[in-house]
Symmetry: C2
Subunit: 174 residues, 2 copies
């Protein structure tokens, strides 16, 4: 995780609002925690796969082969991560990614916020950040497949169910 | 269209069943027409964008900027085209493409069969060809968004509507 070591390991403290990584990547502030921790968003793909697995474990998702998770991150069009910063420590607390044809459509997958930080508006902020990034790339058709229990979460963000009767479908082998 | 010129412009005639392009790409036979024409599938990305536009016009789809269509083809994980061969002539008569993370999921877009060739089983064959290609790449989650009037077409192919309550959603700007 050289990315974060460079950024926070040399006495550097990111200023409020935004910080820039050594690679010139913008970290966007998402909020502050009562204990002084700060939450930032990033689009780095430099994510420790063990840390991501821990995050997914925390919300009860089935484990997936790490090699494939790494490949999926590599070939996703957009990867958004959310980090909790405490001094020079950082922890992955949120994630989302999108596949895309780089032209018309993007499909968002694997949206997750650590249980400790849920219901504080961070999921909404994470999704808004992802949507803004996709819009900036001129993607007009942003789609996703929502688990039944989170349909309302996405609805509040402007996602519409089955618009004009368009239906999400999944292929099952016979 | 050097691809096809090489293949059919030098007196070469593809044999029944399968043919191989000069690039080593396999053309898979999909069927024969009463007038002697043959239908083949390909995964070439070497598609004349004007010809693709004509095909999409024929089913009444809204026009899209050609530059973006080209980019979408370039960044799709899988591009399947269907061609009608008559002697040394070839015509694009079907198309489908899929975005993917190259690991877990693929989403199929822009499925189309020329009206002249619809209702003859070619749409089904095109989709089966695409599904087989995706399965061979170890993609387990094949998804799509179906227009209301083609839900039954996809259902016959093994696609399931809203499995376990998972819902397709589209983002609309406020
Ligand atoms: C779904 C998830 C990302 C939401 O993140 P979050 O940080 O808890 O959500 P927020 O606090 O930003 O909530 C934003 C709004 O959605 C609502 N909301 C949050 N979770 C909701 C849910 N499961 N169902 C309905 N509404 C929900 C909130 O009440 C809030 O409404 P408001 O804007 O009117 O106040 C998070 O709960 C999570 O990671 N869940 C487990 C993993 C998961 O199910 N992911 C989705 C897979 S498709
Ligand atoms: C949808 C489309 C690709 C189907 O291709 P096709 O070659 O006509 O389909 P097939 O002949 O292979 O049909 C396969 C099966 O689906 C059925 N079917 C075909 N089109 C159907 C439709 N619109 N609704 C319901 N069933 C349909 C056929 O009756 C056939 O059933 P069977 O296997 O029991 O005999 C083609 O009609 C098309 O290009 N339509 C316009 C573009 C479009 O709407 N694309 C989908 C966008 S999401």
């Amino acid at each position: 995780m050289t990315f974060w070591k460079n950024l926070f390991g040399n006495g550097d403290t990111a200023t409020a609002g935004q910080a820039t990584s050594p690679q010139g990547e913008m970290l966007e502030a998402a909020g502050e925690l009562p204990d002084g921790g700060r939450i930032v968003f990033s689009t780095t793909r430099d994510i420790d796969l063990y840390e991501l697995e821990e995050l997914c474990d925390a919300v009860g998702w089935a484990r997936r082969p790490m090699r494939k998770v790494g490949k999926a991150i590599q070939y996703s069009f957009l990867v958004v991560s959310m980090w909790e910063l405490q001094g020079s420590r950082r922890r992955l607390v949120g994630f989302a990614r999108a596949t895309s044809d780089h032209a018309f459509n993007a499909t968002i997958w694997d949206v997750v916020v650590h249980p400790k930080l849920q219901s504080k508006g961070f999921g909404k902020a994470l999704m808004r950040y992802a949507i803004a990034k996709l819009r900036r790339e001129d993607i007009s058709n942003i789609t996703l497949f929502a688990d039944a229990q989170v349909v309302d979460f996405y609805r509040r963000l402007g996602f519409v169910l089955d618009p004009e009767g368009i239906k999400g479908m999944f292929w099952y082998p016979d």
